[in-house]
């Protein structure tokens, strides 16, 4: 009961936030909400399925560049919808091809995707359209952006919660545990994998489209592999197999980067690398896992003795 009350209060605070906060803090809240949406949507696919996707930057970039191209020619929520469709379509193609790859091959393939998209776009823009970037004129106001991203983050969390309890969610866990066995048990693994991958990519594309108006000028460098890594680190730091984990990780790293990134850029990035190493070595289930380990579990299941 107390938990539900806290949730309602948090939601009210988030909705009222733009009224109370200064423009600086509103913009910080916006960035953190976007990170939450990215990390949660990354984790609801990669967490249970154990397919380590580094394509976040590619989907995010595609959404952002779409907003930059259509500009103010279409009314506001449409670019976000377009970004979602764009991410979804890219993920369907990439997923159908790449989700046959296991382990690090999938990670490398998806990592290459952002670079491939960036270099193809640079080549296309300089060679065909003769531009190197796009100006974003007449962007929607900061309030509109805040509520758009808040909606996306909320939707991502709700999707993650619903997915966990659905047949698809269990199927994904089964795929992560042993894909061949899952297939033998009658799970259409390709459909589940590609479907969920596309769903998570839709969120990433939408977040990219919604965040684009924050920059007044966009060039193909928006396909940034750093976005992919940051998302992975946030989700893993918090714990990728829970819903709360990625949120905790995103808020924690979002605040840390805000405080440290501008003043000590290289030290921050160096620290991020060290964080990743420590998390992988010492916290396999993230901060959320650490919390549940510290909390005494109510009734430990008896282990079957061999």
């Amino acid at each position: 009961m107390a938990g539900k009350l806290a949730l309602v209060l948090l939601l009210m605070a988030l909705i009222a936030a733009p009224e109370i906060l200064s423009p600086y803090h509103r913009s910080l809240a916006l960035a953190i909400l976007a990170d939450v949406a990215l990390a949660v949507s990354w984790a609801f696919f990669s967490g249970p399925s154990r397919y380590l996707s580094l394509a976040t930057g590619a989907f995010f970039g595609a959404g952002a560049y779409l907003t930059a191209i259509v500009g103010a020619r279409v009314p506001w929520p449409l670019p976000v919808l377009g970004g979602a469709l764009m991410g979804c379509a890219m993920a369907l193609v990439v997923g159908a091809l790449a989700l046959r790859l296991r382990g690090p091959y999938f990670a490398v393939f998806t990592f290459g995707l952002a670079e491939l998209a960036k270099h193809t776009l640079i080549w296309y823009e300089t060679g065909v359209t003769g531009t190197v970037g796009r100006l974003l004129l007449a962007p929607p106001g900061p309030w509109t952006l805040y509520y758009t991203v808040l909606c996306l983050a909320g939707l991502a969390v709700v999707t993650a919660l619903l997915l966990r309890r659905s047949r698809w969610g269990y199927a994904l866990v089964g795929i992560g545990a042993d894909e061949e066995r899952a297939e033998t048990l009658g799970i259409d693994t390709t459909r589940v994998k590609v479907g969920t991958f596309a769903l998570s990519a839709a969120f990433m594309g939408a977040v990219g489209a919604a965040m684009a108006p924050r920059w007044t000028y966009l060039d193909p460098q928006v396909f940034n592999p750093f976005v992919s890594f940051q998302t992975v680190i946030m989700a893993l730091l918090g714990g990728a197999t829970t819903v709360a984990g990625p949120i905790v990780g995103a808020v924690f790293l979002g605040l840390a980067s805000e405080i440290l990134l501008l003043k000590f850029r290289y030290f921050y990035m160096l620290g991020l690398g060290l964080t990743l190493i420590v998390v992988v070595l010492a916290l396999p289930s993230g901060l959320a896992g650490l919390a549940s380990r510290l909390r005494p579990s109510p009734s430990p299941l008896p282990r079957p003795q061999p």
């Binding site: 380590l52 990743l276 190493i277």
Partner: protein, 293 residues
């Protein structure tokens, strides 16, 4: 465009020069992945570190760049041993499923990539750094090549071949090959898995750093030069097959030729797109590599 004899020499020799360098980087990566399943995406960062080390030794104390190989090689070998002991040996000792291990060691490598790149940014800043060494033109079959490129490629190929001979002839080399072919059988025969892993990780990283020392004679340096070489090495390793040493050598030379030809015949900015496209195609069509089993 006509293919004049000079152009052919330009492409072939230029391609072999680039390819010899690629082969050495890829050999180092293959040694790590083929044996331990550690996909070290920080491989190119050691190349970058080796390059900066040579740059600093040469510009600060006037050490001959070729002599610095005797420093960058052993230093990076030692660093590799330590990193293996501190990071990878722990993950590999975890006893999880193979795929979970591979993903975790991949994440470790990404962490290492961040650490090394930003350490280099702190130490050497993002400005271009470079020096001139042996930048004299040499005539060769009617074409002109800078001497430093020929020297760098010759050293790279010599190191690769020396390693091949070491693998074929020496006791440790035979142990490495045995582990690549059949890890369990080799361990039953009394080969210490963890020790050989550590040594191979060190040798692999030393190859990358030595290549970096050679590259510092040819190009200007930034802390960001590493990753493109990692991608190239990945393409070569996947082209040549995992754990296949000869495949890496041939794959490196082939990729060098293809890239040089595409730069001469098409445009230079298509190079990276071509690399990624080749990588994606091979991964999709034949995940075990072109020359793989």
């Amino acid at each position: 465009m006509g293919l004049s004899p000079t152009l052919v020499v330009d492409i072939v020799v230029g391609g072999l020069i680039t390819g010899g360098i690629y082969a050495l980087v890829a050999l180092g990566l293959n040694l790590q992945y083929g044996l331990m399943r550690v996909l070290n995406v920080a491989h190119g960062e050691f190349l970058m570190m080796g390059a900066y080390l040579t740059y600093s030794l040469h510009t600060a104390w006037g050490v001959n760049p070729l002599l610095t190989l005797l420093i960058t090689g052993p230093a990076s070998f030692g660093a590799g041993l330590v990193l293996h002991r501190l990071l990878y040996a722990r993950v590999l000792a975890g006893g999880e499923a193979a795929e979970a291990l591979e993903s975790r060691s991949l994440l470790l490598s990404f962490g290492l990539l961040f650490v090394l790149q930003n350490a280099a940014l702190l130490l050497w800043s993002a400005d271009l750094k470079g020096y001139s060494y042996l930048a004299v033109p040499l005539r060769f079959l009617g074409s002109v090549f800078p001497a430093n490129r020929l020297v760098a490629a010759a050293v790279a190929l010599a190191v690769s071949l020396a390693f091949y001979v070491f693998l074929q002839r020496s006791f440790l080399g035979k142990a490495i090959r045995a582990l690549m072919q059949d890890p369990e059988g080799a361990q039953l025969a009394g080969i210490d898995l963890s020790r050989v892993h550590g040594l191979c990780f060190g040798i692999g990283i030393a190859m990358s750093a030595v290549t970096g020392s050679l590259i510092s004679m040819l190009f200007e340096l930034t802390p960001f030069i590493g990753l493109p070489y990692t991608v190239t090495a990945l393409v070569v390793v996947i082209l040549g097959g995992l754990g296949n040493v000869v495949g890496s050598l041939l794959g490196g030379l082939i990729l060098g030729l293809v890239e040089t030809a595409s730069v001469y015949l098409a445009a230079s900015d298509i190079r990276l797109i071509a690399s990624y496209a080749v990588l994606s195609l091979i991964l999709i069509l034949k995940p075990s590599g072109l020359f793989g089993r």
